[in-house]
């Protein structure tokens, strides 16, 4: 009897885990969508807040990290932008769009560093 209960509990947990993960992704996605809308209107602070919320809710959401990196970049927060891009690439290393964003960011960031080093 005890074994049956344990098996049932394990089954419920196994089924509930992906459902919870899907819920988190869905919630994070709605934050990402809202962030995109406000960023398109130039409200980058609000967009940054939304994407920060998204990565808090679902830290494995590469698109949210990518968007957050762009928001940081737009506001001149280069260290934070680099960390966010690297996180996005860590999660989704084959995503060419994230890679392209990161390459463009690095080009500007390297230029800034060269100037500082003069």
């Amino acid at each position: 009897m005890m074994t049956r209960i344990l098996l049932l509990a394990a089954l419920v947990t196994a089924l509930a885990a992906p459902a919870a993960s899907a819920d988190r992704r869905s919630e994070a996605k709605s934050q990402v969508d809202f962030g995109i809308k406000v960023a398109q209107r130039g409200l980058w602070k609000e967009a940054q807040y939304r994407w920060e919320r998204a990565v808090e809710i679902d830290p494995t959401y590469a698109a949210a990290w990518n968007n957050l990196a762009i928001a940081y970049e737009q506001q001149g927060q280069f260290d934070e932008a680099r960390k966010a891009y690297l996180k996005a690439l860590d999660i989704d290393p084959k995503n060419l769009l994230i890679q392209q964003n990161y390459d463009l960011f690095r080009e500007i960031n390297d230029r800034t560093k060269n100037r500082d080093g003069r």
Partner: protein, 257 residues
């Protein structure tokens, strides 16, 4: 269909499916770049003058002062001081020690020589290290940020192989552009400015930077020296401005869903 071809087709198809499923939005961004120099202690800027040389066709001292003042008036928050352009070369000549007639009987006393090369300029550069001179000038203008330096604008000639595009017609009458290499005589100018930023409160140098820009035209083309000067200055004005004020670099990024 062979195995590698199948694999290529499958991966291409997958890439298209992934591309179609991923929602993305291209968005313009403006990345702020902080100025190289902290100009917060200053409210005013004095473009004092430059030691210039090279071509006789352009008064590089006067033109550079005018150009930088007009650029800073519209693109910097510092108030630009309107003052007479300082004849720095003459002042530097006056500051030079008199030639000793015993050791150098041929030396002409304190004559302002023609500046044709970087080497000629070196004889005048001591003035930028004259802290007392710049401090006094700073006091005169209520301790602004002082911009000075050297400008060498020299004619230049070069010949060699040049790649250019040529339009050709193929057998079917279609026009195509193809790269061709031809030997060309070219002439133009080299602009070598060194901008020096001096603290008007202390007379010390805060920052300096050197640029080099070159332009060459077909030898038959007759381009006025002043046009070439402005064309070359246009290229380095953004770098000059970025020393004093925040610049924004425009670009695009891709937002993902």
């Amino acid at each position: 269909m062979t195995a590698p071809r199948t694999a290529t087709a499958v991966s291409l198809g997958l890439a298209l499916v992934v591309g179609a499923c991923t929602s993305f939005y291209e968005i313009p961004i403006e990345t702020p770049i902080q100025p190289k120099l902290d100009v917060s202690p200053f409210r005013r800027v004095l473009i004092a003058g430059f030691i210039s040389g090279g071509s006789d066709d352009v008064d590089a001292n006067l033109e550079t002062v005018r150009l930088l003042r007009s650029q800073l008036r519209s693109k910097s928050e510092l108030a630009v001081i309107e003052a007479d352009v300082i004849p720095l070369a003459a002042m530097a000549t006056d500051q030079r020690p008199l030639a000793d007639p015993v050791t150098d009987p041929m030396a002409e006393p304190r004559a302002e020589a023609q500046i044709r090369s970087q080497k000629d300029l070196e004889a005048y550069e001591h003035i930028f290290a004259d802290v007392a001179f710049w401090k006094k000038l700073g006091e005169e203008y209520q301790q602004p940020l002082i911009v000075t330096g050297t400008i060498l604008f020299t004619p230049h000639q070069r010949s060699g192989m040049v790649q250019r595009t040529q339009t050709v017609q193929d057998a079917f009458g279609r026009q195509r552009t193809v790269p061709v290499r031809t030997y060309m005589e070219r002439k133009g100018f080299i602009l070598n400015p060194k901008f020096i930023f001096i603290d008007g409160r202390t007379g010390t140098t805060l920052h300096s930077e050197t640029f080099r820009e070159e332009i060459l035209y077909n030898a038959q083309q007759n381009t006025p020296a002043l046009s070439s000067y402005f064309e070359l200055m246009d290229r380095l004005i953004p770098s000059f401005l970025s020393t004093l004020s925040m610049q924004k670099i425009r670009g695009t990024r891709v937002l993902l869903k």
